[in-house]
C-alpha cells in the first residue's frame, strides 16, 4: 500500500481543460472520493492515475514511484503501475468464467497454480461469490458482477484501489446494500482508495475526505462534515444536499453577528467569523432542514431570526411535505412534517445554520 500524490495535473481536450491544475495528496490507507457532476474532470483524473489517459502536465506518484511526470516526460503504461481499477461497466470478460476472470491477473504475475487457487477462493469468499466461481458473467446479476469485478481487482493486492462509479449501474435498493457492504469492506481492507462518484450520499458515507470538482478544478477538499456544513462556495453548497440561496445586503456587523437585509427588506441575523463590511452584496445560504416553521407569536431573538414568506405550492413526498415558498421574489424550499395552513408561513432560521457567500450567486435553488 502507498500514498498517492497528484500535483498540478492538467489534461486538455482541444481547447477545453478537462482537468485544470488539480493537486491531491491521498495518505496511505485513506479513502478519498472525487465528487462532481458529469464532465467535471473526476473520471479523467482517475484515468490519468490508472494510466488509461495521458495527461498533459503535472506529476503523479504512488508510494514514491513516479507514474507520470509532465516535465520529465515520464509516463508508465497502465500495466507497469500496479493499480487496481473497478470500472463502472465492471468490464468482466464475457468469454471467461468468474474464476478465470479472477485468475487472469494472477496468471500475469506468474503465481503458482496452488497458490492461485487458494487466493481465488479467498477473494471470492471475501466478496461472497464463492458458489459462482464457474458461472459466466452474463449469468450473474448486476450486483454480483460488481462483486466479481471488485474481487478481480483485490486478488492481486493493488498498490492503490481506484473505483469508477462502481454502484451507478445498480438499482436504488441494491445500491444501498452494496454501499453498506462496501463500507464494511473498506474498513477491513484499509486500502488507499480513490472513489469517483456523482452521488453525494455515497461520497458522504464512505469517504475519509471528499474532493468536490467543478469544470476541471477542485472546488473544495475536506472531510464529509466540512463539505456539508461549511461549503466553500455556492457550487459546493448547491451540489451537496439541498440549499436555499437568498440575495442580501450586509446591513450591519457587531460582535461576530452580521445583520443581513433581504430583497424585500426583512432582516436576518447570522453568526459570521469574518463578515464582509456593511453595504456589501452577499448571498445567504442555508439548508432546508435547518429552518422550521416559527411558533405563533415567536419573534427574532439571539438564537435565530423569524422571516415571513408566502406559500407557492406544497407536495407530499412520503412522511413529510416539501413546500415551495416565495420570499421577495426569491424561491425557497422547506421540509416540514405538517403542511402549512394558509398562504403565509413564518420561518425560524438559526443564527448558526446560515452560510454567507460574497457576491450575488446565480445558482438556482
Amino acid at each position: 500500500m502507498a500514498d498517492l500524490k497528484i500535483e498540478g495535473l492538467v489534461k486538455r481536450f482541444g481547447e477545453v481543460r478537462a482537468v485544470d491544475d488539480v493537486s491531491i495528496h491521498v495518505a496511505d490507507g485513506e479513502f478519498v472520493t472525487l465528487l462532481g457532476p458529469s464532465g467535471c474532470g473526476k473520471s479523467t483524473t482517475l484515468a490519468a492515475v490508472a494510466g488509461l489517459d495521458r495527461p498533459d502536465e503535472g506529476r503523479i506518484t504512488v508510494g514514491g514511484k513516479v507514474y507520470f511526470d509532465g516535465t520529465r516526460g515520464t509516463y508508465l503504461p497502465p500495466e507497469s503501475r500496479g493499480c487496481g481499477l473497478v470500472f463502472q461497466s465492471y468490464a468482466l470478460w464475457p468469454h471467461m468464467t468468474v474464476a478465470d476472470n479472477v485468475a487472469f491477473p494472477l496468471t500475469l504475475r506468474k503465481v503458482k497454480a496452488a497458490e492461485r487457487k487458494r487466493r481465488i477462493a479467498e477473494v471470492l469468499a471475501l466478496v461472497e461469490m464463492e458458489p459462482y466461481a464457474d458461472r459466466y458473467p452474463h449469468m450473474l446479476s448486476g450486483g454480483q458482477q460488481q462483486r466479481v469485478a471488485l474481487a478481480r481487482t483485490l486478488v492481486y493486492q493493488p498498490s492503490i484501489l481506484l473505483l469508477d462509479e462502481p454502484l451507478s449501474n445498480l438499482d436504488a435498493k441494491l445500491r444501498d446494500r452494496a454501499r453498506t457492504w462496501l463500507a464494511e469492506l473498506r474498513t477491513r481492507l484499509g486500502l488507499t482508495t480513490i472513489y469517483v462518484t456523482h452521488d453525494q450520499i455515497e461520497a458522504l458515507s464512505l469517504s475519509d475526505r471528499i474532493v468536490v470538482m467543478n469544470s476541471g478544478r477542485i472546488a473544495q477538499l475536506g472531510t464529509p462534515q466540512d463539505i456539508y456544513e461549511r461549503p466553500a462556495d455556492p457550487f459546493v453548497a448547491d451540489f451537496i444536499g439541498t440549499t436555499n440561496f437568498l440575495p442580501a445586503k450586509v446591513a450591519g456587523v457587531a460582535g461576530g453577528v452580521a445583520t443581513l437585509e433581504l430583497a424585500d427588506g426583512q432582516r436576518v441575523e447570522m453568526a459570521a467569523e469574518r463578515p464582509p463590511e456593511a453595504g456589501a452584496r452577499v448571498t445567504l445560504a442555508f439548508r432546508p432542514e435547518q429552518m422550521r416553521v416559527a411558533a405563533a407569536g415567536e419573534g427574532s431573538g439571539p438564537e435565530g431570526s423569524v422571516i415571513a414568506t408566502r406559500v407557492l405550492s406544497k407536495s407530499y413526498v412520503g412522511g413529510r411535505w416539501q413546500v415551495a415558498l416565495d420570499l421577495g421574489g426569491g424561491p425557497l424550499r422547506l421540509e416540514a412534517e405538517t403542511p402549512p395552513s394558509g398562504d403565509e408561513v413564518r420561518l425560524w432560521l438559526p443564527r448558526s445554520g446560515c452560510i454567507l457567500f460574497k457576491g450575488v450567486t446565480d445558482v438556482a435553488a
Binding site: 500500500m1 502507498a2 490508472a50 494510466g51 488509461l52 508510494g63 503504461p77 497502465p78 500495466e79 507497469s80 503501475r81 500496479g82 493499480c83 487496481g84 481499477l85 470500472f87 463502472q88 461497466s89 468490464a91 470478460w93 464475457p94 468469454h95 487472469f104 491477473p105 500475469l108 504475475r109 503465481v111 497458490e115 487466493r119 479467498e122 477473494v123 471475501l126 478481480r152 481487482t153 483485490l154 492481486y156 493486492q157 493493488p158 498498490s159 481492507l189
Partner: protein, 574 residues
C-alpha cells in the same frame, strides 16, 4: 487478505521491454510494402522509355503522349465511360426499386425475393456473364426459343447496351443494400407525418421516402461507377468479339495477351486508370463522411410501417419474380444445367443430351484439376493469413496507442482505389524487379499476396464494426491489471473478436475463390486458378467445360455461405 507470497502492490510487468513496439511497427511496415508493391513499379514504369528491368531505360514523359496518340484510344475512353455510366444507371434503378419494394412495402415474399436479388453479389461477374450467355447469347436458350416463335431476337449482348444491362444487374445488389440500410435508419415518423397530412402511398414514396434515400443512392452510384470502370469480365466476353474495347480490356490486350508488351504504354494506361479511381474513391469518402459508417443508431423499437400496395401487390410480385428469375436464377440454373449436358437447345429433348462428360474432362485434364485445387489452397490458406493480418490491423488501428495508427488505417483502406487489373500488372512488375523472388512469381503464392492486398479493405469492413462494439473497458481492464498490449490482444481481444474473424474469413474465402481479374496477369502454367481457367477455356470455345468449372465455383460459394450462416450466424452484408 491474510497471507500472500507475491509482494503486494507489485505490477505484473515492472519495466519490461515494450513488445508492442516491434509488433506494431512490423505490421505497419508490412501493410505499407504490400500496398506500395504494385503502385510504385507502375508509376515508375510509366516514366521509363524501356522495360522496368531493362538497364538502358531512361526517364521520359513520352509515354503519356504516346498513349494519347494511340489509335482508337479516344474511343476506348468513351466506351469505358459509357459502359460505366449506363451500368450505373441500370444498377441504381433496379437497386433502388428493389430496396423500396422489398424493404418498405407489403409485397408478398419480400424476404425471399430480397435474398434472391442478392445472388449476383456472391457470384463473380464472370460466372454471371457465362450464365447470361447461355440464355440470352446468340445461341442461348431463350434467344433460340424467341427466334423459333417470333423471328430475330430484339436484344444483343454484344453491344454496350447489352453489357451495361449485365453489369448493371450484377451491381444492383450494392445499390439495394445501401438504400435498404438507409431506409432502415430513417425516422419512420417522417413518412407517417406525410401520410397523416393526407399524402397517399405513392406520393409519400416519391416525395418523402425516395428523397431521404438520395444520399445512399448517390454514394452507391459513385461506388457502382467505379466498379463499372474496373470491370473486366463482361467487356472481355461480350465486348471483344464485337470490337468494343474499354480501358480494362485495352490493358489486357496490350499486356497479358501481347507477345511483346510495350511496358511504358501499359504502365501509363494503368496509372491513368489508377488516378481516375483514386479520385472516385476520394469522392465516395466525401459523400459518405468518415464517421457515419460506424455510427450505431439507438435501437428503434418500432419498425417503419410498410406501405400498402393494395391492388398492385400481385402485379408487382409478378414483375419482381420475373426480374429475379430472368437475371439471376435462370442464368445460374442454366449454367449448372449446361454443365451436365453436351448441348442445350429448346429444340432438343433434355434427356438426349444429359451427360457427365464435362466433369470427366475436368477430372482428366491436369490443368483443370490443378486450377480447382489451387483455388482451394489459395482461398483456404490465403484467406486465413489475410484474416490474421486484417485482425491485427484492426486491433492496432482501433485498439492501441500506436503513433501512426491513423496513417496505417488510411494505407490499409487504400487498396479500394486499386483496380484488380492494375494490381495484377503492378505485382507482376514488382516481382519482375526483385530477382530473388522468382520462386514466388511462378507459384500460387504471388496470387495469395496480391489477393490479400486487394481485399484488406473488404476484410476490415467486416471486422471493424464488430470490433467497435466490444467495450474498450474490457481491454483497459486487462491493461490496468498488468497485461501489456500484446497479452491483452491475445488473451482478451482475440477470443472476443472470434465472430468478427469468422465473418471476415468467410467473406475473404468467397472473394479469393471467385477472383480472376488480378490473377490473369499473374498466373503461370502450374498456378492456374478457377478464374483464369474459366477465361482460358472460354477462349478455346469449350463452353461445356466452362459451365462445369463455373458450376463448381457456384456450388462451393453456396455451400460456404450456407455453412457460415447456419453454424456461425455470420452476417455477410448490411
Amino acid at each position: 487478505m491474510s497471507s500472500t507470497t507475491a509482494e503486494p502492490g507489485a505490477p505484473a510487468a515492472p519495466g519490461r521491454f515494450p513488445r508492442e513496439i516491434p509488433i506494431q511497427y512490423g505490421m505497419a511496415a508490412l501493410v505499407v510494402v504490400l500496398v506500395a508493391a504494385p503502385l510504385v513499379p507502375i508509376l515508375y514504369q510509366s516514366f521509363l522509355t524501356g522495360a522496368l528491368y531493362d538497364r538502358d531505360a531512361q526517364l521520359t514523359l513520352g509515354n503519356f503522349a504516346r498513349l494519347a496518340q494511340t489509335e482508337g484510344f479516344g474511343t476506348v475512353l468513351w466506351n469505358t465511360f459509357l459502359l460505366a455510366a449506363l451500368s450505373t444507371v441500370v444498377a441504381q434503378f433496379f437497386g433502388t426499386a428493389a430496396a423500396i419494394l422489398f424493404g418498405r412495402t407489403d409485397l408478398p415474399g419480400a424476404r425471399v425475393l430480397g435474398e434472391l436479388f442478392l445472388w449476383p453479389i456472391y457470384l463473380s461477374a464472370l460466372v454471371l456473364s457465362f450464365g447470361w450467355y447461355s440464355i440470352y447469347g446468340p445461341a442461348g436458350y431463350v434467344t433460340l426459343f424467341w427466334q423459333s416463335m417470333f423471328g430475330e431476337a430484339p436484344w444483343n449482348l454484344y453491344s454496350i447496351g447489352g453489357m451495361a444491362v449485365i453489369a448493371g444487374v450484377s451491381q444492383a445488389p450494392l445499390a439495394y443494400l445501401y438504400c435498404l440500410s438507409s431506409a432502415g435508419m430513417t425516422d419512420p415518423t417522417l413518412e407517417e407525418a406525410a401520410r397523416v397530412s393526407g399524402s397517399g402511398t405513392f406520393r409519400t414514396l416519391w416525395r418523402i421516402t425516395l428523397p431521404l434515400m438520395m444520399p445512399a443512392i448517390a454514394y452507391s452510384a459513385v461506388l457502382n461507377f467505379t466498379i463499372g470502370l474496373e470491370l473486366l469480365s463482361v467487356p472481355l466476353i461480350f465486348g471483344e468479339p464485337a470490337g468494343v474495347t474499354v480501358l480494362t480490356t485495352f490493358l489486357y490486350n496490350i499486356s497479358a495477351t501481347s507477345p511483346r508488351p510495350d511496358h511504358g504504354l501499359v504502365a501509363t494506361a494503368a496509372a491513368l486508370m489508377l488516378v481516375v479511381i483514386v479520385f472516385l474513391v476520394w469522392l465516395q469518402g466525401r459523400l459518405l463522411g468518415n464517421t457515419r459508417r460506424f455510427v450505431t443508431l439507438g435501437g428503434k423499437a418500432t419498425r417503419p410501417r410498410p406501405f400498402r400496395l393494395g391492388g398492385l401487390r400481385w402485379p408487382f410480385f409478378a414483375i419482381c419474380v420475373a426480374y429475379v428469375v430472368a437475371t439471376g436464377v435462370a442464368p445460374v440454373s442454366m449454367l449448372v444445367l449446361r454443365a451436365f449436358t453436351s448441348f442445350l437447345s429448346p429444340m432438343i429433348p433434355l434427356a438426349d443430351v444429359l451427360t457427365l462428360e464435362n466433369f470427366e474432362i475436368l477430372w482428366r485434364e491436369p490443368v483443370y484439376l490443378r486450377s480447382i485445387t489451387n483455388s482451394f489452397i489459395v482461398s483456404l490458406v490465403g484467406a486465413a493469413g489475410a484474416t490474421a493480418l486484417i485482425g491485427m490491423i484492426a486491433l492496432i488501428v482501433h485498439r492501441s496507442e500506436f503513433r501512426f495508427r491513423n496513417a496505417l488505417h488510411y494505407t490499409a483502406l487504400f487498396p479500394r482505389a486499386i483496380p484488380g487489373v492494375v494490381a495484377g500488372i503492378g505485382f507482376f512488375y514488382a516481382f519482375a524487379l526483385l530477382p530473388g523472388l522468382g520462386g514466388i512469381r511462378n507459384s500460387i503464392w504471388i496470387l495469395v499476396i496480391a489477393f490479400t492486398m486487394r481485399f484488406i479493405p473488404t476484410g476490415l469492413g467486416a471486422v471493424a464494426p464488430m470490433l467497435l462494439q466490444v467495450s474498450p473497458d474490457l481491454d483497459r481492464a486487462a491493461r490496468v491489471q498488468g497485461a501489456d498490449w500484446w497479452t491483452t490482444t491475445r488473451r482478451i481481444m482475440a477470443p472476443l473478436m472470434r465472430p468478427a474473424l469468422v465473418a471476415c474469413y468467410t467473406i475473404l474465402f468467397i472473394s479469393f475463390f471467385k477472383e480472376y481479374s488480378t490473377a490473369i496477369f499473374l498466373f503461370a502454367p502450374g498456378s492456374e486458378v478457377i478464374g483464369t481457367a474459366l477465361l482460358q477455356t472460354w477462349v478455346q470455345g469449350e463452353v461445356g467445360v466452362v459451365a462445369g468449372l463455373a458450376a463448381i465455383q457456384v456450388v462451393v460459394i453456396a455451400v460456404c455461405i450456407t455453412t457460415a450462416r447456419a453454424i456461425f450466424g455470420v452476417k455477410l452484408h448490411g
